[in-house]
Symmetry: C2
Subunit: 721 residues, 2 copies
């Protein structure tokens, strides 16, 4: 905590710096700012290529696509571009799905149409009747909408629109947000205010936010949303709520976004009045069939169910002596007639299993491989523990070739500083997607498992646990918007580079000025490693304070379950620190392909970033840089703090490129991040020092508080808990 | 509930009607829209009188006043008005506190300065060195800020600024909002999203909302805010939170808004480690003294404490055999050295007292008259039960001449349709303030008690339970902003007319177009009576469903305490309906002055709007219009529904005067209000019909659902509960 004296200044500064006319709430607009171009040549250049807009269709989706083009282009080019329904004139921007195109143009694009899938689009400069035009098309009007947003992004980011020839298709089918939103308006692990869903005012009241939420998601290719928490409440499946869900589905439909719900496994008992929820019981099977029919009657394009079963106290098939396959397949049969899917989470770890928690999901699920119905996809977190700042990829990826696996990333920063720390997560996502499972030899990356190419699966998907709430800026931190954006872009193309994503986002959200982009992009690209450094360097994990996971709590050891205690994960003692998951230890490494297991097992080849995840090593262990483990760890913590100091400097230098409101917001948030980075460093080093018994090396600042002080800090109302 | 078929349309309509560029969020700007004037003459007229702005001071408050003038005038007149620090030129707008004025001008205004109090202001056109200028001044820079907002309102509402001679002072000292906000971010009886206070990010992060909240309040003269719920948590008094409260106080200070906190009476035990909270215990007395010192060290202008004690389970002095005076005076002594006050709530009713709940606050508090310390003010709800759509004024007003009483109004619509019903509350507030207590003969209005004039009290105040949350439009319903606005204006001047307030608000918030103002003002002025008609006509009260108070629940009779059950309040039976509080009944009427008691006791003189509050009458009782009570009641319910139908028509006709976003918002909300008005009518009439055994009269629509259906409706997640 920082001293009252220090504090006194800040509010006044903030107060005077923030202008009164900053009612614009720029940060509400996300990456769809459509800021007016201040470069006349550029405007002339774009205008010359877009003398008019031709909308060939009249579906709801084409209407929203047209409106987006009008708003976007008119705002960015500062003039009204005429709209027409026929191709008359030249340099027209023509958009419509395949069948709406004139036969001659269809023919011109036939090769391209063969190259794209259902959601893919074509943006191409063509010559038609000796006149040049830009055509945006796809096999249906949602694909066209994706193309429209992609075209707008070109203009947003100052790219050329000369002789365009873009043919792009998403590499996964289900690109979905998981909202851990409760019916009472709270959001589990939510750090951006209350739930977006105003259940009280639905179905009649359609908040403008629902529409802007759909626009933002469509603009990055997201095509699904699970409205409710995986720790589910059965009431969402009652008519009172289904009527409200239906209203949201109606709003999202034109944007190509399907609604999904979490299914509480015990719902047949809680709202169905049955005595059991046994997936083999005929009345239960029938109840879910009827419930599915009821839902699809209201929402013909309902996506399906996401299920957390027999995990952290949630009910499931095991309560009836059945297994996950029995449960998943029973629900799959209920939604199959309507084209629905079941996303079944693999996040399980039994309190009765004394072995390494990291091994349990694999141990339990891999034997099921090949037994799930075709419309079941197993949702696996990126790592085997729980959304840590860094985890090795989950060993299940590539280990169930006969089962579609979808990725579950966490966009909300449960373990990464809530909405006060600037951490650009696409770097983390990319690291996982690029990881090589070696399950089919070198190059068997996680991305290939997720996009289905490794094992030829048709059903594929990527889920992201949403960081969206009712804060005016949506995500609590203006830069957390980049994590929502980046998740969507990677769900569309798991092979995209995080730096490309950062570049697009900065340009669309803030500015195309290179003097702003370069330093800010660097800051974003380094930010994830920075957080790892000041929180959990060298493979440390799950040492956050318990329950709310806010701040450090390596000392916590009093929780009911051993695997809920930080001490279980770091195992610090006089001899050293780290969790031995090598063959000499829990042998979790054996769950990976031999090449990977070998690399992790061997201290010489185990990457130092994962060292303490896989090995318990002595405080004097020599790191590759020649430092002892203790010194190296201490210096990593210090480096994290130094890097945040750098971020503060970097941001302070951007003032003239950003609106005052967002500049001040980020500036204040970075101050909190700096304070908390120091808190992490001091608390962890003081705690581990008890075991290492060593002095802090040269260059590491002395803690200003005692370990007792840090242990005494309590946060009874930390959000999201 | 309305049928799925009906619903299907709405979202799509909403979707298509709301333009994509409606990112402006006009409703965030409240009544400070400062919309550009579209009448050139008017602009010329105003511009000619304001050739420049002269700011004579440099305090924080003058800085915010200057910024407000610049933003407001530049936006409304569409040009930049030069700012200078000296009076050079003519037709200047000069502002600064008394001492900053040139001696000659001070002399000119000496009479006016005598006429105003500490917070009063003067806006006057003067001739200085033969040049005309407009001067805005007061005895301090906060008073000047009030003058500045008052001047801006003249321009906002198209009033003339020729030969101005405005001398205005607030009639109460404490004009304060009570936020029932909990530390976990929820708001008790809150229907506009989560709490505004982001405790997690404070003290470092100053949300722009805190500043705009302060601006909005200062613009209507509100000068205090109680940040926390009266159902208090002692943790707010710990350093962790006081540091955050201090940051808010720093933001609010330049706007003249003092911060207050709720004091949990048992805090000395819960956070002080004491064994008791007995107000006579020396360690307890000392603990509160030290705690107060600690608070004032951080916040020198801290306002004081609001206390709910021995009420609805809250701890208090009675837990130790002491009384309210002992408790209040102990806290008063603690804050007295620093100029703090204690606002002690009179909202008490014992579960052990079998008598009429309406009598209990009076019975318990009136005997204390004269025993409270000078810095204690007793906070009394407007009625004796609990913020009903209509209640007779609280008998305590005027009954404690030796004790300052402050009014507690509820702005949040706990019993008035949450944030989905358009109900203009200043009509309700005015009805209460104009009520004549007769305690010192005719003309002893509640307003005179509240402004201290009846019994010559220096300490005076009006509190409003806030309807503000983190919804982008602040209050959930655009028209609920008018209740916040109207509360502030009436706190400043309890004699203001609701219609004047509505007129000001409509012009500042929406439009100066008479074609819009006239129908909308009528709609607002009738809206409160409309709600009374479809909820609780003829003096009915507290028949809302229990707990959340959402919708009708006249049948509820199973709650632990009799006085929590609607049946306790309406007492419907075969013979009739109503609560006999006359001398033949509970004799609550005897708590009023003889003239008032007589009027209420006598069926012939008791106003019919209060009939069933004071009398149990037969179903065949003849109303003044010749109808039987049953027929009259049924027709009142129907009238309420008809009036909402009218509101819908009225609003639909305003489309061309309002931005699409707010137009659609209100349109959708009115649909909910209409649906719920019918729900109220049908549920109540079906229920009471069981007792009256009579048919619905001609002109009352037949219910479309059964009583069982209405009784079966459950709302487990109704907000604010």
């Amino acid at each position: 905590m920082i001293s009252p004296k220090k504090l006194f200044i800040l509010p006044i500064v903030a107060l005077l710096m923030i202008p009164f006319d900053s009612f614009s709430q720029r940060d509400y607009k996300l990456w769809l700012q459509y800021e007016k171009k201040n470069n006349p040549e550029l405007v002339r250049e774009y205008s010359s290529k877009i003398s008019g807009i031709v909308s060939l269709e009249n579906s709801e989706s084409s209407k929203v696509a047209l409106k987006e083009l009008e708003v976007g282009l008119n705002d960015m080019l500062g003039k009204k571009i005429p709209v027409q329904s026929k191709i008359e004139g030249e340099n027209l921007l023509v958009f419509g799905s395949k069948l709406s195109l004139d036969a001659e143009i269809q023919k011109k694009l036939s090769k391209d149409f063969e190259a794209i899938n259902k959601d893919g689009f074509i943006i191409k400069t063509i010559s038609h009747k000796n006149k040049k035009h830009i055509v945006i098309t796809g096999k249906n009007d949602i694909a066209v909408l994706y193309g429209v947003f992609s075209f707008l992004r070109l203009v947003q980011t100052n790219k050329s629109i000369d002789n365009l020839n873009i043919v792009d298709s998403p590499k996964t089918n289900i690109r979905i947000l998981n909202h851990w939103d409760n019916l009472d308006g709270t959001v589990e692990r939510g750090y951006a205010g209350a739930s977006l869903w105003n259940w009280q005012k639905l179905p009649e009241f359609i908040d403008q936010r629902y529409i802007d939420y759909a626009r933002a998601n469509a603009s990055i290719g997201i095509n699904g949303t699970v409205l409710t928490n995986v720790n589910a409440n059965a009431l969402i499946l009652t008519p009172l709520y289904l009527e409200k869900v239906e209203a949201l589905a109606n709003v999202f439909r034109p944007y190509g976004i399907k609604v999904y719900l979490t299914a509480r496994f015990s719902a047949p008992i809680e709202i169905g009045g049955l005595k059991t929820a046994d997936p083999k019981d005929a009345t239960v099977i029938n109840w879910w069939k009827e419930k599915s029919k009821e839902i699809y009657k209201r929402i013909p394009d309902f996506g399906g169910f996401l299920v957390k079963a027999n995990s952290e106290g949630q009910p499931g098939p095991q309560n009836y002596g059945r297994d996950h396959v029995d449960g998943a397949n029973m629900l799959a049969d209920a939604v199959a007639p309507f084209g629905g899917v079941v996303m079944w989470r693999a996040f399980v770890y039994s309190e009765h299993d004394a072995s390494d928690r990291a091994k349990q999901a694999y141990s339990e699920f891999v034997p099921y491989d090949g037994r799930f119905k075709d419309n079941v996809i197993v949702q696996v977190k990126n790592g085997a523990i729980d959304f840590q700042p860094r985890e090795p990829f989950h060993p299940m990826f590539g280990a169930m070739p006969k089962t579609p696996l979808m990725m579950e990333f966490q966009i909300t920063q449960e373990y990464l500083g809530f909405s006060t720390h600037l951490v650009f997560l696409p770097k983390l996502f990319q690291e996982v997607l690029e990881a090589d499972t070696y399950q089919k030899g070198k190059g068997s990356t996680v991305a290939k498992v997720v996009d289905g190419s490794l094992d030829n699966h048709k059903l594929t998907g990527i889920a992201g646990v949403s960081n969206i709430g009712s804060d005016i800026n949506w995500t609590g931190h203006p830069f957390a918007q980049a994590n929502w954006y980046g998740f969507g872009r990677l769900a569309w193309d798991p092979y995209l580079d995080a730096e490309t994503i950062a570049d697009e986002w900065i340009r669309s959200t803030f500015s195309n000025d290179e003097n702003f982009i370069k330093p800010v992009k660097e800051m974003m690209m380094d930010s994830r490693e920075t957080a790892v450094n000041y929180m959990t360097p060298l493979g440390l994990h799950h040492i956050m304070d318990t329950g709310h996971h806010y701040g450090p709590g390596p000392w916590v050891s009093d929780l009911g379950r051993p695997d809920w205690n930080p001490v279980y994960y770091h195992k610090a003692d006089k001899n050293g620190i780290g969790f031995d998951r090598s063959k000499t230890g829990s042998n979790a490494t054996s769950q990976y392909a031999p090449e990977v297991a070998k690399m992790y097992d061997n201290l010489a080849t185990c990457p130092e970033k994962d060292l303490l995840w896989f090995h318990h090593v002595s405080w004097d262990y020599k790191l590759k840089n020649g430092r002892t483990l203790w010194d190296g760890m201490a210096l990593k913590y210090q480096q994290g703090v130094d890097q945040v100091e750098e971020m503060v400097k970097t941001w302070n230098a951007t003032e003239k490129y950003v609106d005052t409101e967002r500049f001040k917001e980020v500036q204040m948030l970075l101050q909190i991040q700096l304070k908390e980075a120091k808190w992490w460093r001091d608390a962890c080093l003081l705690y581990f020092q008890q075991y290492s018994g060593k002095q802090l090396p040269e260059g590491v600042e002395k803690p200003t508080q005692t370990l007792e002080h840090f242990k005494s800090l309590k946060f009874p109302f930390a959000p999201g808990n």
